[in-house]
């Protein structure tokens, strides 16, 4: 538009693109493409050591050759459990909290601020904090439960292989609940007030108003939140790493694709790890699982938004 000058000056705007393009291409796009290429090789990553083309062998190891396939399917099934927990505790509870916020007349911005606050803390720091609070002997959580007479509920939260995964996810939800609350709240506030008032005049109570009017209108936003829960489950790493270690204990009961990926790439899988190519294959598989869900969710959301 304004690049009307003649000669070389016409192209000077390219100089303004370089500081963005260069780090983006080198540190984001190139590693991504290289991930796909690396997944077809066997290589330990040490410069000068042999890098052998193995075709799809790395993928085969993950999909049906123990011990890697055992680890992969176990981690993947944990990811789906986490997705289920997030549907209830993140999208479900978040929507409920948002609805409560629309029903109180005073203090809603105060509650909103408090609920959102943990979101500003580093997820790793959150994990360190809660690992102290959940300590079975000296932690504040069990001390509080004992104090109010609920001794039987004072559990080894992080040490029991059935409790550990839900506990870690609960901490993750404590950290992140503000986000679904805000998204659901914004969607609920976009519901036309006169429609709700008309329903109330016709005798609909607030629960009927929610189910028949608000819920169908905010459904596309909820679907979007669910899709974020799905990709979010695959992005989880720090919270497990910090609270349960790289081995995702006890007995791998909190092992997710994220922690398995870390161990494959940076060690901790024992002498059998063949390193970089195997890790890259796992990254590509994860990418292939996550991307379609995100794309489908965007499509659904777009179609609904047009109709409403």
């Amino acid at each position: 538009m304004y690049a009307g000058r003649k000669g070389l000056g016409r192209y000077s705007f390219w100089l303004m693109l370089v500081p963005a393009l260069l780090p983006y291409l080198v540190f984001k796009i190139y590693p991504f493409i290289n991930s796909i290429l690396l997944s077809f090789y066997e290589w330990n990553g040490v410069p000068g050591s042999p890098k052998t083309w193995v075709g799809l062998a790395n993928y085969a190891k993950f999909l049906y050759q123990p011990p890697f396939s055992t680890m992969f399917w176990r981690a993947l099934s944990h990811n789906f459990i986490v997705f289920g927990l997030l549907l209830m505790w993140s999208t479900g509870l978040g929507t409920l909290m948002a609805w409560f916020l629309t029903q109180v007349r005073r203090g809603s911005s105060f509650y909103k601020g408090i609920i959102f606050m943990p979101n500003t803390i580093s997820i790793a720091v959150t994990g360190f904090l809660w690992s102290l609070l959940l300590n079975p002997q000296f932690g504040a959580v069990n001390a509080l439960l004992r104090k109010v007479g609920l001794d039987s509920l004072a559990m080894p939260w992080l040490g029991d292989s059935r409790l550990a995964l839900p506990t870690v996810i609960a901490v993750n939800v404590w950290h992140g609940l503000g986000f679904p609350v805000l998204i659901a709240l914004a969607a609920m506030l976009s519901v036309p007030k006169d429609v709700l008032e008309a329903a109330e005049v016709d005798g609909a109570n607030r629960f009927t108003q929610f189910w028949k009017i608000t819920f169908p209108i905010i459904l596309p936003n909820l679907i979007n939140l669910m899709a974020l829960n799905f990709s979010g489950a695959f992005g989880l790493f720090e919270i497990v790493f910090v609270m349960q270690g790289a081995e995702a204990g006890p007995f791998y009961s909190t092992d997710l694709v994220g922690t398995l990926f870390y161990r494959t790439a940076f060690g901790g899988m024992g002498a059998t790890a063949s390193g970089m190519g195997l890790g890259a294959a796992l990254a590509v598989v994860t990418f292939l699982i996550v991307i379609p869900v995100s794309l489908i969710a965007t499509r659904i959301q777009r179609r609904y938004s047009v109709e409403v």
Partner: protein
Amino acid sequence: MIWRNPRLKWAAIGFHVVLIIYALIVMFPLITMLFGSVKSTRDLFVNPFGWPSEFMWSNYVRAWKEANFAIYFKNSLYVTVISTTTIILASSMAAFVLARIKFKLNAWIHGLFIAGLVVPSRLAIIPLFLLVRDLGLMNKHLALILIYTGGAMPFAIFLLTTFFRQVPNELAEAATVEGAGTWTIYWRIMLPLVRPALATVAIFEALHAWNDFFFPLIFLRSNKLMTVPVGLSVFFGEYATDWATLFAALTISIVPVIVLFIFMSRQFIAGLTQGAVK
């Protein structure tokens, strides 16, 4: 309208009760941490969440000096400030060019940036690790700054291009008539007009750099270079039994961000929600 009916009033009180209970669940760990940070370790084990029986401010001195938190804090500040500034400058220049200048590859380059929105950076950590090693950037803050900058471009450019496009054309045209060049139009006219969007990008990316654990874990080796979250992990290994100092260190890591959030909660919420939808 809502208060007409006494039954509805009781329902409203019920909603408040649930919200207050959840607010307490949010506050309990943070208050326990604050109290714990000034207790003696013995007091902490006898009385894990109550009011401190005596105030041990020395816990903070120990965390800050002996446990290197002064250094971690300085490193975090350095990485955050440099990468946020770089991100703001690089993305706003590029977004300005893509939004306002017609040239052949414009749509193509814009699409290339937007495509990055669906690419999770961490999945490419293996080639990224090899790249950083081969460039000799291992154990250097520059590696983090470059990775944060590259990774921030899709969202920053996506948001800023939308804002730059909304600026009325007359302003820029008038400036061109007065003889202003591309740079002057960007720096003097356009940039001040998109300040709210710049604030959104800055808050989201600064918080991301300040809070990030993953990339420093992979790329920083020496203790002297670590940022707060990874420094905390070293500290948790060394001082595992000294809980009071651990709580003091946690407080040092958490409180600055929460104080900023209390003063700028609207900007924080805008930055974090828009950033996370990407």
